[in-house]
């Protein structure tokens, strides 16, 4: 630590005062409003009226909200296995490649920097009923696939394009974990005559635990935050199947003019996401020590 002069003190105080002011206005003030709205009823005008826990009781009986929580579970059930398995395979395959590695990495990562609005437009056209993909399907099999208009398929289709976007990013996280495992471990196991399959299950997978957990946690928080894709492509339909918690929050606040209830939806979303992350960590996280 550098010695503290009067000048230094002034510099530090100035910077910290700026930080504290900004945080008080754009973090503290909204935080107070959030707590206040959660316990009151308000429609953007007048003073909020205190209603106690009414908003929280309402959310438990809200059939729309329950439908949307089920949708979110549906998203999770597709997305987490899809992302986890495909990025694991991607990372392992990549670690065995010797040529064109940069090209492969860049092609997968460039998908990740696609803008939410732009890639939603891109895929809604590619997957359209008369779009290029369905033309190929039709010429091969004689039928078309209603990617975004079938209630049972729409969630899966959205998960498909989210996987397109994130597999490179998550794959590189697992790849970094893979590189951290000393190759001497694999060589020793091979010497002892272990099969590739056995090496994968007893060495690779357990030692990859930290990166697999990271990916699972990222994918979970990502799923609770899905907004742009269904908002742009399906608008929450068909039959409300692709309605997500954030679309519901947005609609409640600005279409139904009910910001206090929308705030409770946001809080409930954050609590669910946070608890699921904690549960995942508790159950699956292992201490890994590499010597």
């Amino acid at each position: 630590m550098a010695s503290l002069s009067a000048k230094e003190k002034r510099f530090g105080t100035g910077i910290i005062a700026f930080y504290l002011t900004h945080t008080a206005i754009f973090w503290g003030y909204p935080f107070v409003w959030m707590v206040m709205l959660a316990f009151s009823r308000w429609r953007f005008v007048g003073r909020p009226t205190f209603v106690g826990l009414a908003n929280f009781l309402r959310i438990l009986q809200d059939s729309n909200f329950i439908r949307i929580v089920l949708n979110t579970l549906n998203f999770l059930a597709y997305l987490i296995p899809m992302l986890l398995i495909s990025s694991l395979i991607f990372a392992i395959a990549l670690s065995r490649m010797r040529y064109f590695k940069t090209f492969v990495v860049m092609s997968f990562l460039v998908a990740n920097v696609s803008s939410g609005v732009a890639y939603s437009i891109m895929f809604s056209n590619l997957f359209a009923v008369n779009g290029p993909l369905n033309r190929i399907v039709y010429s091969l099999f004689g039928f078309t696939i209603p990617w975004f208009s079938d209630p049972r398929l729409a969630v899966f289709s959205i998960c498909l394009i989210v996987t397109w976007k994130f597999v490179g990013y998550y794959g590189m996280i697992i790849y970094a974990g893979l590189q951290a495992i000393p190759s001497s471990l694999f060589e020793a196991a091979k010497m002892d005559g272990a099969s590739n399959w056995k090496i994968f299950w007893t060495i690779t997978l357990p030692l990859l635990n930290p990166s697999l957990i990271t990916v699972t946690v990222f994918a979970t928080t990502l799923t609770f935050g899905i907004f742009t894709e269904p908002y742009m492509i399906t608008g929450g339909g068909p039959m409300m199947r692709t309605m997500t918690l954030l679309i519901y929050m947005y609609d409640t606040a600005f279409r139904r003019i009910d910001p206090s209830y929308a705030t409770v939806v946001a809080i409930a979303t954050a609590v669910m996401s946070f608890s699921l992350v904690i549960v995942i960590r508790r159950i699956f996280e292992r201490e890994v020590a590499l010597v």
């Binding site: 630590m1 550098a2 503290l4 230094e8 003190k9 510099f11 910077i15 910290i16 700026f18 930080y19 504290l20 900004h22 945080t23 754009f26 003030y29 909204p30 935080f31 409003w33 959030m34 709205l37 953007f44 065995r96 010797r98 064109f100 492969v104 990495v105 990562l109 460039v110 998908a111 920097v113 803008s115 939410g116 609005v117 732009a118 890639y119 437009i121 891109m122 895929f123 056209n125 397109w164 490179g168 590189m172 996280i173 970094a176 974990g177 990166s211 990271t214 928080t221 935050g225 907004f227 742009t228 954030l246 929050m249 947005y250 929308a262 705030t263 946001a266 979303t269 954050a270 946070f274």
Partner: protein
């Protein structure tokens, strides 16, 4: 031995074809924005290339009250202002927390960690109320002010400044440098990769931000491109060509900045594994 060779060949073939599948949507989007409207869905290589969709976007859309060029400039302005501000404020606050000893520093550092636990969407509606109360609706300030500081950026800078020995600061002080000079000319160049990672991810995040500007910006003249494109797609869905050209416009800056700073993008990814 032979079997392994064949397997490797197969693996390379599969991965390279998958990579091509992964960039195919981009190629299709790019090609389609130059195709005559009738051929967008039917052919990959069109009978002729046309600039009509870009002409529409650059020259005509303004008359419909959907000024795409302005929206592009709005996005550039907002994203670069926020990025510049986040890199600067994060560097200065991070420096203060890491290198100057004062009573609150431990507490503030812990508070920043605590802040990162809260997902951004929790604050959207209260922030909207704040912006409305200050009369900032439909202004650039509504898009810029909340993003001037970033707790993640501050954390990243504080962590990397901690690894730099105090000798650098003491030497600069002996040469008579003041604090601002030390941060800008001594510390920032030493943590160039942190600065690039923070800048890159902030720029991409701001450029791609959709829900917040959708809430606070109803003025077509000040909309960032993402929001204008979304509303245009909503209202003029029949204009497939211009919509796709707009999507190309929205994608290109992000892809360019990714290609330029790809090294730091990879570093940022491996850093997320703690």
């Amino acid at each position: 031995m032979k079997r392994i060779k064949i397997f490797d060949l197969f693996l390379h073939a599969v991965m390279i074809s998958l990579a091509l599948v992964w960039i195919y949507p981009y190629l299709w989007l790019f090609m389609s924005s130059f195709k005559p409207a009738r051929e967008i869905f039917t052919t990959f290589v069109p009978s002729r290339f046309t600039l009509e969709h870009y002409e529409f976007i650059f020259l005509m859309s303004g008359r419909l009250g959907r000024p795409f060029v302005r929206a592009l400039l709005n996005s550039v302005f907002v994203a670069s202002t926020v990025t510049f501000s986040v890199v600067m404020t994060s560097a200065f606050v991070g420096f203060t927390l890491a290198k100057i000893r004062f009573a609150l520093s431990r507490l503030i550092f812990n508070f920043i960690l605590y802040q990162m636990l809260f997902p951004g969407f929790m604050f959207l509606i209260p922030l909207f109320i704040l912006v409305r109360t200050f009369g900032l609706m439909n202004s650039y300030l509504a898009l810029i002010l909340p993003g001037l500081l970033s707790s993640w950026g501050t954390f990243m800078f504080a962590q990397s400044f901690k690894t730099i020995p105090d000798d650098y600061i003491d030497a600069a002080k002996l040469d008579g440098a003041n604090r601002f000079w030390i941060v800008l000319r001594v510390m920032l160049p030493l943590t160039r990769s942190t600065a690039s990672i923070v800048g890159l991810f902030t720029f991409i995040g701001t450029w791609d931000n959709f829900l917040w500007p959708l809430m606070v910006m109803k003025d077509y003249k000040k909309m960032p491109l993402a929001v204008l494109l979304a509303t245009f797609n909503h209202e003029y869905a029949g204009y497939v060509g211009p919509v796709l050209a707009g999507a190309v416009l929205q994608t290109i800056p992000m892809v360019l900045i990714f290609l330029i700073l790809r090294k730091y993008f990879l570093q940022g990814i491996s850093m997320s594994l703690r």
